[in-house]
Symmetry: C2
Subunit: 227 residues, 2 copies
DNA sequence: CCGCAAAGGTGTACGCTGTACGCCTTTGCG
DNA sequence: CGCAAAGGCGTACAGCGTACACCTTTGCGG
């Protein structure tokens, strides 16, 4: 019987659960985010969380999406290079602010809408900057983990953007509306390589050679760091 | 009372434990490697494992070291570029053969002797190819995760090569004997930046700009993949 | 050959995890 | 006002890593 003036405990909702999980992970690391510990912080019994979160994987996924969705928007000015660079630094800042992010992202199996949205935005910068869809595909792989906070190849399991129900045509239509650039890349890639959309060995060697070439140029130029 | 002819169970040793853990992880993934499941495969009680392995972290670490120590030696011929390239492909092959390796490596906090040995070998290729110690440092960071199967920055906790007892001078001597190149890099870096040996922000932007420059060259050249 | 210390294997037990299931309480809407 | 839906609770279970005490086997010095 809570007194009239007493602050009757607010009901839980998904956002409150995720926000508290974020705070807990920031403070004590991802391992400290157990259903019991999180419930205790919300002054609730552990099983209450399951009314707002399907299971622990969904909780972690929600945390990741919350961070990605909160990425700052870069200024819509400058060259593709400046804009991609800024997006990379924004992603890096998120990783500095949330050290658990790397581990959380790598524990996921499917691309969420938030992840696809970020990928689509970066792909859009390249394409608007004059990159072909094909080249955009490969440079996105090359950026990979280092720049995203997540590596495209960590998501071989496919996408997860809502309804898993039939009608592939409708799904495709929805995808090209919400994520036009990544959809274009996927279509282009599967046209070139019908067996599967990505040839991982090719991507690996593509990036490796890009880097080795760049190293050779620096070596030949007598590059050094402290000026 | 085992009969004379019956194959009296062989005693456990660390190598047998690690080998069985490898097999289990290859077959069913890293999550399937629990102390209990591993013990069952070895027809032994779970606690018996602790006579050969300090704890689970030590077990996983031992598995990683076993794989890295088994990296094939590249042919000692060709340019630095060919040799580094081959080492990268060897590391990638290990990851294809052991899909759990990425997760296992990223759960570690300290560099083992096996990891340091691999890093030292790659650093040695650059230095022998005419790279300065300084430049070698930065290109090693740039290769990072993508090419190693592990990212240097995943090991901010320092090294773990045996005795943690005093006498830093003796430790330094031992390090430069066993891992001359990484030691040279660490000394060079701390001379340039006394506060800490790596400026992560610098390394991040270094690699990012290397990649962005490379992308721009490909774009300007009208690069495309299928020839 | 004996004996004894060291090394190896066993059994039990504890605290922690995620979560299935059933019950009760609160909420919001027709 | 009444009732279905949503939210929160309590109990319970299987699995985890591992501390601790105990017994058994091994190998070596006398």
């Amino acid at each position: 019987m809570p007194e009239p003036g007493s602050p009757q405990r607010r009901r839980l909702d998904r956002d409150r659960v995720l926000a508290e999980a974020l705070a807990l992970a920031d403070a004590d690391g991802l391992d400290a985010v157990s259903m019991r510990a999180l419930a205790a912080r919300l002054e609730v019994v552990p099983m209450a969380l399951y009314k707002h979160v399907a299971d622990k994987e969904d909780l972690i996924g929600g945390m990741v999406d919350a961070v990605i969705a909160g990425y700052a928007r870069p200024a819509a000015t400058g060259t593709w290079r400046e804009r991609v660079r800024e997006r990379a630094l924004i992603a890096r800042a998120a990783h500095l602010a949330h050290p658990w992010l790397r581990e959380a992202i790598q524990s996921r199996r499917r691309r969420s809408a938030a992840v696809l949205g970020h990928m689509d935005a970066v792909a859009g910068e390249f394409i608007a900057g004059g990159f072909s869809v094909d080249l955009t595909h490969h440079v996105m792989h090359a950026l990979g983990n280092r720049v995203w906070g997540f590596s495209p190849e960590a998501f071989d399991g496919g996408d997860d953007v809502g309804q898993p129900d039939g009608d592939p045509a409708a799904l495709l239509r929805m995808m090209s509306e919400r994520f036009p650039h990544v959809t274009a890349i996927a279509l282009d890639a599967s046209a070139r390589n019908p067996s599967g959309s990505c040839d991982e060995q090719f991507e690996f060697e593509f990036t490796l050679d890009l880097l080795l070439d760049a190293f050779e140029r620096l070596r030949a130029a007598g590059w050094e760091s402290s000026g």
